[in-house]
Amino acid sequence: MNRLAKYWAFMRMGYLTYLAYRFQVLMSFVSYLLIIALNYFLWKAVFAKHQVIAGFTMEQMMTYVVIGWSARTFFANRIDRMIGDAVRDGSIAMDLLKPTNFQLYHYFRAFGRAVFMFLFMTLPIIIVASMIFPVSLPSGKLGPYLFPLSVILSFFLHAGISYLTGLVAFFTRNNEGVLRFKQLLVEVFSGVMIPITFFPDWVQKVLFWLPFKYIAYAPLRIYLGMEPLSKVHQGVLLQIMWIVIIYLTGQIVWHYAIKRLEIQGG
């Protein structure tokens, strides 16, 4: 119980931090609606002459765009930036005093932010966007049930990737470059920017072996009911597998990172 209370406090902290930035959140909401609007016009132009492109109809594509961008507000996190800043300004020392698993501390703090974002960004964006643009409800037998689970898994998968990126700061002091590279990989290959079926075949083959497409592309396929049942289960299991692999890698890298930090301090 005591253990749980600790992580609950981290979550609360992550949530409350964002309550202080109401105007910024509102502007960010407007930005997301603009991205969705731009995508709407682009896809409308693309589908003007074709019924189906890369396996998607116009209706599916608009749902993909709206649900994808709004889900992004939920699974996004700033873990990598927070660790980088903490290493640079030395406040990492305070974090290390906390008798807690450093990785879980960041996961839960970011989850508090995600809960905030879900209430004040994800839901409002979905509601407003579906009044303006054509968006369908989740389809297929499992879509409505497995999609929420799958997006929560996306959060932890992305948190793990960000945590690993953040740890680079222990070795290089400045993780800005790696951070930007990771951001690029996630933006491009998670499937939020464009469904990965639009990429050339060889890129799709490479992506099969990487975790990125399980952040957005896989959950969105579940939402749209585009996968047969067996594939849906497989997708969720692969998400869990990647979460475990990345979490364990995070623990191992942490073990070495902490030694590096002591050397720098001494």
Partner: protein, 228 residues
């Protein structure tokens, strides 16, 4: 992260041959044009975007006001962001890729006109962002309105014909993003029905820049009066 937008358009055209009658090469040229003019703005003028944080919150604007020189000129020229010039290079390569595939016959004069249009487009970016950051003299929002405007900039990279009438009117007459890439690109792409808009580009740049300088001056004055 300008590169993400470029990767989007490159991946889109892997499976899509054209966009409402616009060919890949034409879209790439317009997109490249927007990257070059935006990149120029970022490289030489993005210190402007620091007005809220570095100048007003940290108080450096007082130092600027002490000097007997135009405050706008000082803020804009105080720092050059060479690292942003990669956006210019990406834009130039998109433009030259498009040109090499379209077999247009351009002479030295055409290149000179295009260069002038790029400068005008860059001036429009400068004007739009000057008006926006000037608002921080009255109301400091830590740059979140600027981030919305940077998002809206995404609309400038595509032909305005893909948007509906309302968006087209906004992009042409209210927030003139249509003049930062689409209309000026029509000169090289030889779409004669837009030629009046091509020649309006420098005029729009001058009008908006004058307006921007006016808003800045009012803002700086409002700042002084709170300071005393």
């Amino acid at each position: 992260m300008q590169l993400i937008g470029v990767l989007f358009i490159v991946s889109l055209f892997v499976k899509v041959p054209s966009l409402k009658g616009w060919h890949k090469e034409e879209i790439f040229f317009i997109f490249g044009f927007s990257q070059v003019s935006l990149g120029l703005f970022f490289t030489f003028f993005s210190n402007l975007l620091e007005l809220s944080e570095r100048y007003i919150i940290e108080g450096n604007f007082d130092r600027i006001l002490l000097r007997p020189l135009n405050s706008f000129f000082q803020v804009v020229t105080e720092r050059i962001y060479w690292e942003e010039s990669s956006t210019i290079l990406v834009g130039l390569s998109m433009m030259s890729y498009a040109l090499s595939r379209m077999h247009l016959h351009l002479n030295a004069g055409d290149y000179l006109v295009t260069f002038g249009l790029v400068l005008a487009a860059c001036t429009i970016y400068l004007a739009i962002f000057t008006i926006l950051v000037s608002l921080t003299f009255w109301f400091n929002d830590r740059g979140s309105v600027v981030s919305v405007m940077l998002m809206l900039e995404g609309f400038s990279r595509y032909p305005v014909t893909i948007f509906n009438r309302v968006v087209r009117v906004i992009l042409t007459f209210i927030i003139p993003y249509a003049f930062t890439a689409f209309f000026p690109s029509m000169y090289v792409l030889g779409k004669n029905k837009y030629s009046i808009y091509v020649w309006m580009t420098p005029a729009v740049a001058l009008i908006f820049l004058s307006l921007a300088l006016l808003v800045w001056r009012q803002g700086a004055r409002a700042y002084e009066s709170t300071g005393s």
